[in-house]
């Protein structure tokens, strides 16, 4: 019962599940994608990334890479949202919502790969 592994796995899976939760719903309907959820997704993804630092194994390097990809996409989504609401002329439109959701979809894929790698690593240990 390794506490470090529990925390590690917890945050990685939490990142994936929250991300999925944000992503699901009609692509261009803002009421399906609350901003608070995006906030939480970003925070948990950042924590998961930092937890992956300093792992010298090969699989650790790939895990860190996928996490960084997810972070990149999510921060891009947040920037698009902030830009649209505060700086753009029109405000939130269905098209902009669609691009935010698709970016988070990309992050979702990266998180899925991350979890798959985690599962593979666990199975390898069992062997």
């Amino acid at each position: 019962m390794n506490l470090e592994k529990v925390i590690f796995g917890f945050f990685i899976v939490l990142a994936l599940t929250l991300n999925f939760g944000f992503f699901i719903g009609e692509m261009n309907n803002p009421s399906h994608h609350p901003v608070y959820e995006l906030f939480v997704v970003i925070v948990v993804n950042l924590i998961a990334t930092v937890l992956k630092f300093g792992d010298r194994t090969q699989i650790g390097a790939v895990l860190l890479a996928t996490s960084l990809v997810a972070d990149l996409q999510l921060i891009a989504a947040a920037l698009v949202w902030a830009f649209a609401v505060n700086i753009g002329q029109v405000g939130m439109t269905p098209e902009i919502m669609a691009s935010i959701v698709s970016l988070s979809g990309g992050a979702l894929l990266a998180n899925i790969v991350s979890v798959i790698l985690l599962i593979l690593e666990t199975i390898m240990i069992l062997r």
């Binding site: 608070y36 906030f39 630092f53 300093g54 010298r56």
Partner: protein, 573 residues
């Protein structure tokens, strides 16, 4: 490099987690807490402005309450944010500073920088282990010839000294403080680097030198190894696995003294040709034959006594240790620093004295006492520490022996002029008269004030292309052709051919009319710009052709056509 990044990432985990946690709590709070009511409507900050506010608050910039004035509840939360986030940042910055100052981290940085500067080296370099007195002298000698050296030494002070000396060296000498016994450090210093061509083990411990030689032979067998060793057992051990050269300062010096006694002109010749080229040559003092007093019967004393006895010269040994095994015949117990010991040894009738103990004050004292008793004595003093150089210089002894200098000179000769040792070996088979004759000839042709350059001309594609081409065309090229000044054909270059090699056949002092063939090698010595001129001749077809035809040839094709110069005029030779 990855090791350093890994170290940084590992250390930054805690601070980064703290920052993320603090930021997210602060931002969420700012979004949730209601702002000032407008038209009866609760307003909230959005995430964008919340992040903006928390950013400039936690870094203590503090623009103010933007975009709108805060309500009281917002202000209350803002206070919490301030204390949390500023402390969070201070903690993180503190963690970064600790990391930078961490000795492991700094050592990793230093090693990384050293390994990088070694990796960038493109020309052949030597790996030197041990920057003691011999090492310092050797690096000075090698860099004088623009040979690159990489240094490892276990002692940090010595490496610091290296960076101080660095200003004096014409090439940059990378140095690392590391234990050469550990193979990893040897690898970092470039043991397996494709440009590393030699390993020189000069540490003070025979055992470590042995380990270095083994490491080198195992990890990179093509490297030549020179190892310093004092003890017979270690010497045979080191040579058993193929170490090319084993140097022992005491043995080398004793052999030199023996040579000087046996055949003074050979000694003179050797000293003249092995000096640093271009420097002024002072004729070294020649020790006289007669009775010698040797103070100190350690390894140095033993070598000397053995060689002196081989020369059939009587010796008297003064040694303070009565346990010495086996005691030499007629040994006198004492240090040699007192007058009565020296008189007992027969100093009034001695030809020379050698102060060969491992203690510098004793050696100085012996010499000073001895000189008072017999002012005509030939004095040889052993100087153990470079720090006492001024004292030994003031002593005005005939020969001062410094083990470091002896090793450096010997190794320099080995690596920069290997052909010269072949020549000197051949020469040693002739008698003293012959050597004197050669020295006189050198005096006439190149002068004996300045140590000459020594170089090899090879009739091959990369080192003597013009000679090769001339021979292939059917011309007869003789050694005397190479000794003509290409810019002034009436003048001979100040050079002397010393050794001639064709295949396995070696010939001393070849005749000038010797015809050259492909793959011949000639060892020359000369002064001034003789070396450059001859090198030029060996590479420039046009200049060589002028000499072979003994007339001026127009350079441009147009002029050749105008003057009707034909290529087959060469048949005249």
């Amino acid at each position: 490099m990855d090791q350093i990044i890994w170290l940084i990432l590992r250390r930054m985990r805690q601070p980064l987690l703290v920052l993320i946690g603090v930021y997210s709590v602060a931002v969420l709070g700012m979004v949730l807490v209601p702002g000032i009511e407008q038209d009866g409507q609760k307003t909230h900050m959005d995430f964008f402005h919340a992040i903006y506010f928390v950013s400039y608050t936690s870094t203590t910039i503090g623009f103010g309450e933007l975009p709108t004035t805060f309500s009281s509840s917002q202000r209350m939360w803002a206070m919490v944010c301030i204390y949390m986030s500023v402390i969070g940042w201070i903690y993180s910055i503190g963690a970064i500073l600790t990391l930078i100052q961490d000795p492991t981290f700094r050592q990793a940085l230093v090693e990384r920088r050293f390994a990088n500067s070694v990796r960038k080296i493109k020309e052949p370099f030597y790996l030197l282990c041990g920057y003691g007195e011999a090492g310092v002298a050797l690096v000075q000698a090698l860099t004088h010839y623009n040979i690159r050296v990489v240094v490892i030494d276990k002692n940090q002070d010595r490496i610091n000294e290296l960076s101080l000396h660095d200003q004096k060296f014409p090439v940059f000498v990378p140095g690392l403080c590391a234990d050469a016994e550990i193979p990893q450090h040897m690898l970092e210093a470039g043991l397996k680097h494709p440009s590393c061509s030699r390993v020189i083990a000069l540490t003070e411990s025979d055992a470590i030198n042995l380990k270095i030689a083994i490491t080198s032979k195992l990890l990179n067998p093509k490297l030549k190894v020179i190892a310093r060793s004092g003890h017979e057992g270690t010497k045979s051990n080191i040579s058993s696995f193929g170490t090319e050269n084993i140097v022992d300062a005491f043995e080398i010096f004793a052999e030199t003294i023996a040579l000087a006694l046996h055949s003074p002109d050979h000694y003179l010749l050797r000293e003249f040709l092995s000096g640093i080229s271009g420097t002024h040559f002072d004729k070294p003092p020649v020790p006289p034959r007669g009775m010698w007093i040797v103070c100190g019967y350690g390894r140095f004393g033993r070598y000397l006594v053995n060689h002196l006895e081989d020369e059939h010269l009587p010796t008297v040994v003064i040694e303070s240790n009565d346990q010495v095994e086996p005691p030499p015949h007629g040994m006198i117990l004492g240090r040699g620093t007192e007058a009565n010991t020296l008189i007992e040894a027969g100093i009034k009738g001695a030809a020379g004295i050698i102060a060969g103990t491992d203690n510098d004050p004793n050696n100085l004292s012996i010499i000073m006492t001895a000189r008072e008793l017999n002012p005509d004595l030939f004095i040889v003093a052993r100087q153990n520490s470079e720090a006492n150089a001024a004292l030994f210089e003031a002593l005005d002894a005939n020969i001062v022996m410094n083990p470091g200098q002896v090793l450096a000179k010997n190794i320099r000769g080995l690596v920069t002029m290997p052909k010269l040792s072949e020549f000197l070996e051949r020469v040693s088979q002739y008698d003293n008269e012959w050597a004197r004759g050669l020295f006189n000839r050198l005096e006439k042709v190149v002068g004996t004030d300045i140590v000459p350059d020594i170089w090899v001309i090879k009739v091959t594609e990369d080192e003597g292309p013009s000679i090769l081409k001339a021979i292939s065309r059917g011309n007869e090229v003789r050694i005397e052709h190479l000794m003509i000044d290409p810019y002034q054909r009436s003048i001979d270059l100040k050079a002397l051919p010393l050794l001639f090699a064709r295949g396995e056949d070696l010939r001393l002092m070849p005749a000038k009319i010797t015809t050259l063939r492909i793959d011949d090698r000639i060892l020359f010595c000369g002064v001034g710009h003789t070396y450059q001129r001859m090198r030029l001749l060996a590479n420039d077809d046009y200049l060589l052709e002028q000499i072979l035809l003994d007339r001026d040839i127009p350079r441009s094709g147009v002029m050749r056509w105008v003057l009707g110069y034909k290529k087959d005029a060469q048949a005249e030779i």
